[in-house]
């Protein structure tokens, strides 16, 4: 059958192109596409090693329609710092956005040192963390962003231990502590919110940090169709607060219209299956307590002034 090019076809307008080898339903591929199209074509991307880098650039294919550079796992922020410095030297710094992006590892763990250096030196760079809560590319191992109770291949459920025993490294707070002028979180369930935050960040000079929760069907163990629903439930249960912190002050939160118990968010995910056994009851209560603490801390139910 002859191929019809529709009047509006993403092949024409999207800076992130289909044909990449992300898993079906991958939250990160959606996140990356939303970020890049919000940033526009005058953007240079520096990418850490990880799922996003691998599934978009298997030679000779590339899903990117902007200049894009991948170096190593832990140096994306440092490479980006060099790109930004070069643009300043060339007098092109005001004309081109530099976005550095990475996942759990490249941001919170192995890449943490270079991230801190980039923040501290005040480079005009937007850092985007695609938070899928584990090292997915290497096979779903536990990361510093893996939440309490999640089962991963290195924090598995066994007879002695039930999943991950530590909480998420609070990267937004760490970014704020570095004096980063714009820090925000969002999820792929809210594309307009994501787009607005990216555009706002890019209008500010200096380092910016946006952390995007991106569900991973393979790693989280859920049906490929539930990526968006889970990204929404993470917010509505209080597990993943969506906030903006500008110049150290909390300036916006996404209010929870109708609070849902964490069970609704956790149940469809195989990585939390053990929480619904008798042995996991205490852990489940702890997860609920963590969500409630988030709601309290950020006033997500509208009880606190912004």
């Amino acid at each position: 059958m002859p191929k019809v090019i529709a009047p509006r076809d993403p092949k024409e307008w999207s800076l992130f192109t289909a044909g990449h080898t992300a898993c079906a339903g991958c939250g990160q591929s959606l996140g990356a596409r939303l970020v890049l199209n919000a940033a526009g074509p005058r953007t240079i991307l520096v990418n850490a090693t990880g799922c996003l880098e691998v599934f978009t650039t298997r030679y000779p294919s590339s899903a990117w329609r902007v200049p894009w550079l991948h170096s190593l796992f832990e140096n994306a922020s440092a490479v980006g710092s060099g790109v930004e410095a070069a643009l300043k030297a060339l007098g092109k710094a005001d004309d081109v956005h530099v976005i550095v992006q990475g996942g759990d590892g490249g941001t919170a763990d192995i890449g943490f040192g270079s991230l801190s250096g980039m923040f501290e030196r005040g480079h005009n760079i937007l850092y985007v963390c695609y938070d899928n809560e584990a090292y997915m590319n290497t096979g779903i191992q536990r990361s510093g962003l893996t939440p309490f109770g999640a089962s991963t291949t290195t924090s598995p459920v066994g007879s002695e231990v039930l999943g991950n025993t530590t909480g998420k490294k609070d990267l937004p707070a760490i970014a704020v502590a570095h004096g980063v002028p714009y820090v925000a979180t969002t999820t792929v369930a809210y594309p307009k919110d994501l787009e607005k935050k990216v555009k706002k960040a890019l209008s500010i000079k200096g380092p910016k940090y946006i952390q995007i929760l991106v569900p991973c069907p393979l790693g989280w163990g859920h049906d490929t169709s539930l990526t968006i629903r889970l990204a929404r439930l993470a917010v509505q249960s209080g597990i993943f607060p969506v906030i903006e912190v500008e110049n150290g002050k909390l300036t916006s939160v996404m209010r929870i219209a109708r609070k849902v118990p964490v069970d609704e968010y956790l149940k469809p995910q195989a990585r939390f299956r053990h929480l619904f056994t008798p042995a996991g009851r205490e852990e489940l209560e702890r997860v609920q307590a963590l969500a409630d603490a988030n709601i309290e801390r950020f006033g997500l139910l509208g009880s606190k002034a912004g």
Binding site: R42, W68, G82, E84, A85, S114
Partner: protein, 397 residues
């Protein structure tokens, strides 16, 4: 405007090197301090602060980030510079491969220093040797004038369209970086004439949105490595051409692959890298005075390894004595092994005596070299280690 060599001055090696780098007009500098490289990067920081050097100076938080930042800068199409030593060179190890494989013509000065444990801040060649597989071109300076002259040549070699590989200029830490020698710098106009502005062969550019840093599979990676090897081989010729051009401009022969001293009629050839060569020259003179026809083959470029030149220079000697300041534990001195392999492959019948000394900054005086030539038995019994002190050794050693 006169294009000249500046008046000869006595100054600290690091300061002279920094002044030479400044004249290369790097646009981005990113470096992390480590003894004994520190004075180089400090002088450059002062030059930027004084407005004498228009460069973005990124005060990175580690050497891994230093090499990564200059990688990013070169990838964006500017001339960049960094410097390091010892542990810093090791820490950035994986990034070195990246820079070479991306064909980025960066220049890095390495103030050669020993490797921990235990910590030792003095000079040897272990750090440079650890990087010999990375794809970096490696050139060693014998004295501070050469260290200066190699900086300009390094950029010209690196940025040559047939090469496009990063260059490591090796300068013996403390021995050269912190000693005061008379040097003559190029004035800026002469430097500009020799080294025109950088024209990148590729760059991250929103008007040409190409993807770099891809994943390459088993079906193509072998060929990629072959292509890099061919670039190293082409560098052999380019290094000589650039040295010739520099010589014409300045009257100084401080470049190229190898240099011979009294080798024409020699029976014994002394071979080494860097400042050690000065001791080898002295030793050759002393041996000649004793009636032994000694000469020196100075190897200036270690990567690409100039096997052909070495074979041509040493074809007529009966005995070759190689003194290494780097060592591959479990095997032996690295330069010695590579020279031996080159000569053996070419069927050169000379006997090669391999010695190692100078590790951790132990001086190698000419007298030690002479002793190694005249009575090599003791060091040979001790794995070739020169001037080994028995009081530190245990029973099983």
């Amino acid at each position: 405007m006169a294009r000249t060599l500046e008046k000869t001055q006595v100054m600290e090696g690091s300061r002279a090197i920094a002044a030479s780098v400044q004249r290369c007009r790097p646009q981005v500098i990113a470096a992390y301090p480590i003894t004994p490289q520190t004075h180089i990067v400090e002088h450059l920081a002062q030059a930027v602060a004084n407005g004498e050097l228009k460069a973005e100076y990124v005060k990175v938080e580690s050497e891994h980030s230093a090499m990564s930042a200059v990688l990013g800068a070169e990838a964006t199409g500017v001339r960049a510079y960094t410097a390091s030593s010892s542990q810093g060179v090791l820490l950035m190890h994986e990034v070195l491969y990246n820079v070479a494989a991306l064909r980025l013509p960066l220049v890095m000065t390495v103030a050669n220093r020993a490797i921990s444990q235990p910590i030792n801040i003095w000079n040897d060649h272990q750090d440079a040797m650890s990087a010999r597989d990375t794809g970096f071109i490696q050139i060693f300076a014998e004295d501070n004038q050469e260290a200066c002259d190699l900086q300009y040549q390094a950029y010209k070699i690196a940025e040559h369209k047939d090469v496009l590989l990063p260059v490591m200029v090796c300068v013996d830490g403390y021995v050269l970086t912190h000693s005061y020698e008379p040097v003559s710098l190029l004035d800026q106009d002469l430097a500009d004439q020799f080294l025109p502005p950088y024209e990148p062969s590729w760059a991250l550019d929103v008007d040409r949105p190409v993807t770099y840093g891809v994943m390459l599979g088993p079906g193509e990676y072998l060929e990629h490595k072959y292509v890099l090897q061919q670039a190293q081989k082409r560098a052999l010729g380019v290094i000589e051409d650039v040295a010739r051009e520099f010589g014409t401009l300045t009257g100084r022969a401080h470049g190229g692959l190898v240099e011979e001293y009294r080798l024409d009629d020699a029976d014994v050839a002394l071979v080494g890298l860097g400042s050690l060569v000065s001791a080898l020259r002295e030793a050759a003179d002393q041996l000649r005075a004793q009636g032994i026809k000694a000469g020196v083959l100075k190897i200036r470029t270690f990567r690409p390894f100039p096997a052909e030149k070495i074979v041509a220079a040493l074809g007529g000697v009966k005995r070759v004595v190689v003194i290494d300041k780097g060592y591959s534990l479990g095997s032996g001195g690295i330069l010695g092994m590579e020279v031996t392999a080159a000569l053996a492959s070419a069927g050169v019948p000379a006997v090669v005596d391999r010695f190692v000394g100078g590790l951790g900054g132990r001086p190698i005086p000419a007298s030690t070299v002479v002793r190694a030539v005249v009575s090599p038995e003791l060091p040979r019994r001790q794995d070739g280690f020169l001037d080994l002190k028995p009081e530190y050794l245990g029973e099983g050693d």
